[in-house]
């Protein structure tokens, strides 16, 4: 019981530290790829603390509540996500529940930003929702392939089976879904080539445009959590999770650096191009993978 309570408190904190570290690392690595020096690793922390004490504007009650809901949603997802042998609330519905609680974050953000009454926001959200429909199609096929293959909807069980039988991504029926997940990971994270919804040069960072001060600080934390959740899900489902948090974070780091390389060298898709891409190759791979898992079973 005591261990459980400690885990519940510890896991969001760990996720926050790792997520923010990733944000700092991302700027550093991107800078190096672009032949720049880049800001120090703790720059996001400095920014957040500064923003937290800066004045900000609010556009109404929903503007405040939405961002709180969004962040709370992300924290809850982390409680349901196993990393290392830590999983505080694993026994409450498994992968499907995670999938659904993952909705709270974008929904809260969309509601909050929506009240901002700025065309940049509406365009950004419209693009974000279309993009999410784009990547959910292959993502759902991938998750279904995994759940069908392991005959369970519990993510803890998926991790446990992999611990004894090996990583799913090198197990041939799940190889294609694994690749497909990796291909859509930039879209889930909203980074290039899929940063249509936040496109700073086009629509002034889209949904973020009205955020300042503590709103922006919370939105940045939220972004760090999303980074953590999406990559942790990949590590859990395809790279066998890990026996302890250290190895888990090491695996996450490798995946993250790979995704960053994609981010650093590709230009932005237009939204139609993004959907066409997402509904072509990743969907095809995931679809074939799902059929293979059905046959092999």
């Amino acid at each position: 019981m005591v261990i459980k309570v400690i885990q519940i408190i510890l896991s969001p904190v760990l996720a926050l530290v790792v997520g923010v570290f990733f944000l700092g690392l991302a700027r550093k690595i991107m800078a190096r790829i672009h032949w720049r020096y880049g800001p120090p690793l703790i720059q996001p922390v400095i920014d957040m603390i500064r923003l937290f004490y800066q004045k900000s504007v609010s556009h109404g009650r929903m503007f405040d509540l939405g961002i709180v809901l969004s962040l709370a949603g992300s924290i809850v997802v982390i409680l349901f996500l196993p990393f290392g042998q830590m999983c505080p609330l694993s026994s409450s519905g498994g992968l499907l529940v995670i999938l659904y609680i993952m909705l709270l974050a974008p929904l809260g953000l969309a509601l909050s930003a929506g009240q901002g009454a700025n065309p940049n926001i509406s365009i950004g959200i419209s693009r974000k929702l279309i993009l999410s429909l784009g990547y959910e199609v292959p993502l759902l096929l991938v998750l279904l392939a995994v759940m069908t293959h392991y005959k369970t909807i519990s993510i803890v069980e998926v991790v446990n089976v992999q611990q004894s039988t090996g990583w799913s991504i090198i197990y041939w029926p799940l190889f294609l879904p694994g690749i497909s997940y990796f291909l859509i990971l930039p879209a889930i994270l909203g980074i290039r080539p899929f940063d249509v919804s936040s496109a700073p040069q086009e629509i002034s960072s889209g949904p973020m445009v009205e955020y300042g001060g503590k709103y922006l600080a919370l939105a940045t934390i939220e972004h760090a959590f999303v980074l953590f959740i999406s990559i942790a899900l990949f590590v859990n489902l395809f790279l066998a999770g890990a026996a302890n948090p250290i190895i888990f974070f090491a695996k996450m780091l490798v995946v993250f650096v790979l995704v960053l390389c994609v981010n650093a060298v590709f230009p932005r898709f237009r939204i139609e191009q993004a959907i066409k891409y997402l509904w072509k190759w990743p969907t095809l791979l995931a679809f074939v993978g799902l059929i293979i898992t059905l046959i092999v079973k």
């Binding site: 937290f52 004490y53 800066q54 004045k55 504007v57 609010s58 556009h59 109404g60 929903m62 961002i67 709180v68 962040l71 709370a72 949603g73 924290i75 809850v76 409680l79 026994s91 409450s92 519905g93 499907l96 529940v97 659904y100 609680i101 909705l103 709270l104 929904l107 969309a110 509601l111 929506g114 009240q115 009454a117 700025n118 065309p119 926001i121 509406s122 959200i125 419209s126 693009r127 929702l129 429909l133 959910e136 199609v137 759902l140 279904l144 069908t148 369970t152 909807i153 519990s154 002034s204 445009v209 009205e210 001060g213 503590k214 600080a217 919370l218 139609e272 959907i275 066409k276 799902l290």
Partner: protein, 618 residues
């Protein structure tokens, strides 16, 4: 001890008396209508858990008219009574000042009474009688607004009649074969029938109920009817009236034909059961994409209704205990949240005089209650955790995945992600963004409109956090159909293959929310600013509507529009126009001129004489 015929007498008598009272005083009529519908809720609630069967009339063609009550009919009856009552309360101010209000209340009460009759009917004949009363009253209500509503009503009633004819064919065939129309007697006799005959019966009834339940390809009446009907009746229509089709499916599949026969019909993908599942899946996916492209709020919700009805059909047709529970639970949830959404849109329309998603905006600050109600409604529609929609969808996905039908699960899941798009469009275009100048002095909704919305919102949250309450009833229905019992707790469902525990989710969300809120409060204070005080890169921000709602999903629209032509509707219209042409040419025969008729008679006589002379048949 309340017997069932008294219940129906109150329902029908109350309806007629409401009309009569309307001739005396409108105020008296309003309160009487509310009291009668509340009384029905109380009576039905008191009948919980009872099992009754009674023949109340024998004279009709020597057939017994039977009323019976069991868990299945109780669940439907209580939903009908509650949604009916709330929509009547909502109507009080919605319909005030319009013409023929007494007639409106009569029809509303009559539809509810007829639906109660349907779910309480113990034989197919009384089922059919109540079914027709419901169809025709609904027709009159759909056409209440005149104008385009007349065409919508016509479309509805024509498709309804086709359904009724199919029902009649099935019913007469059952009577000829088994010499009874009593449902329980048919159910015991049907086990000896050949599988070909059962298939015929199933198809006949499936067309009848599929039209009412708007299963693809019989859905074309629904979008027109739902968007043109008065808002409180749209809530009834979408919440419960189309669910009479669901009830019919349950009746024919599980009560009459029975679980074993139904699942054993045909083999592989060609079995009746998988075809029905596939229809359910298609019914989820296509309307969801069509809904995203609508600009009329009620039409958007109407297409969403078609899609959500697909989940119910999929759950029922899949035929495992979890899936059936999911289908039934989703029926119940959909009745609550879709009624809520239609009422909310009705409240907006009542004040803003429009439901055009392109011209509204920013109403959240002016109509906070309606906004929150819509928010709860769309959360339940999407299936956000802690609303009731989440539990039923979780059950559907779980049963589909674990029974090895990932593609059906895929359809269901994509339907949900599509629902996010159209739900967000709905709430964003009406309530968020900038408030147009013309709505600056818009009033709050009257209390009689707010009250039903508050009740429904609370119910959605209650059954989302404590799903065990309705699941207990649903589990009893499953057991009566011959399924294994589910392990229902107050917080969800437990089983070896993964449990659901809403209390964990609830407390986690609550705790996380409070912590984040405290952190949020600790930060530097924010200043509230006017809506036009927004960042526009130094450019001037106009006072009037300045956010992007028109063609909200334009990039997606351009991509999927070529694939979404409504071929089916076009096909029906082609049939209709061909029939019309044919009838027109037949009509020419009746020229209305006596000379022509004399000529016809003479020609006919000449033909007879010719035939007699030539072949001498007489």
């Amino acid at each position: 001890m309340m017997s069932l015929e008294i219940l129906l007498i109150i329902a029908f008598g109350g309806a007629l008396l409401t009309y009569a009272l309307g001739k005396i005083s409108h105020r008296l009529r309003d309160s009487f209508a509310v009291i009668i519908s509340l009384a029905l809720v109380v009576i039905i609630a008191c009948l919980y858990g009872k099992s009754l069967e009674k023949t109340f009339y024998f004279g009709f063609l020597g057939l017994g008219l039977v009323l019976r009550l069991n868990m299945l009919s109780w669940l439907f009856a209580i939903t009908i009574a509650v949604v009916g009552t709330l929509s009547i309360i909502f109507s009080l101010s919605y319909i005030k000042g319009r013409e023929k209000t007494s007639f409106y209340f009569l029809e509303m009460a009559l539809v509810n009474a007829a639906m109660l009759g349907i779910v309480l009917a113990g034989d197919l004949l009384s089922f059919y009688i109540f079914w027709e009363i419901m169809s025709w009253s609904a027709f009159l209500l759909i056409s209440y607004n005149k104008g385009p509503a007349l065409a919508a009503g016509m479309k509805y009633i024509i498709m309804s009649i086709i359904g009724s004819v199919c029902f009649l064919v099935g019913m007469l065939s059952l009577y000829v074969s088994f010499d009874t129309l009593n449902i329980s007697q048919i159910a015991s006799a049907v086990t000896s029938a050949s599988s070909g005959y059962i298939l015929f019966i199933l198809i006949a009834f499936s067309i009848a109920f599929g039209i009412k339940n708007a299963v693809l390809p019989f859905h074309t009446w629904l979008p027109d009817a739902h968007s043109e009907a008065p808002a409180p009746f749209s809530a009834v229509l979408s919440g419960i009236l189309i669910k009479m089709g669901t009830y019919g499916f349950l009746l024919i599949l599980y009560v009459i034909v029975g679980l074993k026969l139904f699942l054993g019909l045909g083999s592989g993908i060609f079995s009746f059961h998988s075809v029905l599942c596939l229809l359910g899946a298609v019914t989820i996916i296509i309307p969801t994409f069509i809904a995203m492209l609508q600009t009329d709020a009620k039409r958007l919700l109407a297409w969403s209704t078609v899609g959500q009805a697909g989940y119910i059909i999929l759950g029922i047709a899949f035929g495992t205990n979890l899936a059936l529970a999911a289908g039934l639970f989703h029926f119940f949830n959909h009745a609550l949240f879709k009624a809520l959404l239609f009422l909310a849109i009705g409240a907006v329309e009542f004040r803003a005089q429009t439901r055009d998603l392109d011209s509204l905006g920013g109403l959240a600050k002016k109509m906070p209650v309606v906004f929150i109600a819509t928010l709860v409604g769309i959360c339940a529609l999407i299936g956000v955790p802690l609303t009731n929609g989440f539990v039923s969808k979780w059950l559907i996905y779980k049963s589909l995945i674990l029974e090895g039908s990932p593609f059906l699960a895929f359809f269901a899941l994509v339907g949900t992600w599509g629902a996010i798009l159209y739900s967000y469009k709905l709430i964003h275009n009406i309530f968020l963004g900038q408030l147009p100048e013309k709505y600056r002095d818009i009033q709050k909704s009257p209390l009689s409109m707010q009250l039903p919305m508050i009740v429904l919102s609370l119910a959605i949250l209650l059954f989302g956090i404590l799903p065990g309450i309705p699941l207990k009833v649903i589990n009893a229905i499953g057991i009566s159909f011959g399924f294994e019992s589910l392990n229902v707790t107050l917080w969800g469902v437990t089983s070896e293959t993964g449990a659901l525990n809403t209390i964990n989710i609830f407390s986690a969300v609550l705790a996380a929310g409070i912590i984040v809120w405290i952190i949020f409060r600790l930060g530097a204070k924010s200043v509230s600013v006017a809506q036009d005080d927004s960042y526009a890169a130094g450019a001037y921000t106009p006072k009037d509507k300045y956010h992007y709602t028109v063609e909200f999903y334009n990039p997606l629209y351009r991509m999927i529009k070529p694939f979404l032509r409504d071929v089916i509707d076009g096909f029906y219209y082609w049939i209709a126009s061909s029939v019309q042409k044919l009838s027109n040419s037949v009509r020419r025969v009746y020229a209305g001129d006596v000379g022509y008729y004399v000529m016809y008679i003479i020609l006919f006589l000449a033909l007879l004489i010719f035939v007699q002379l030539k072949w001498k048949p007489w």
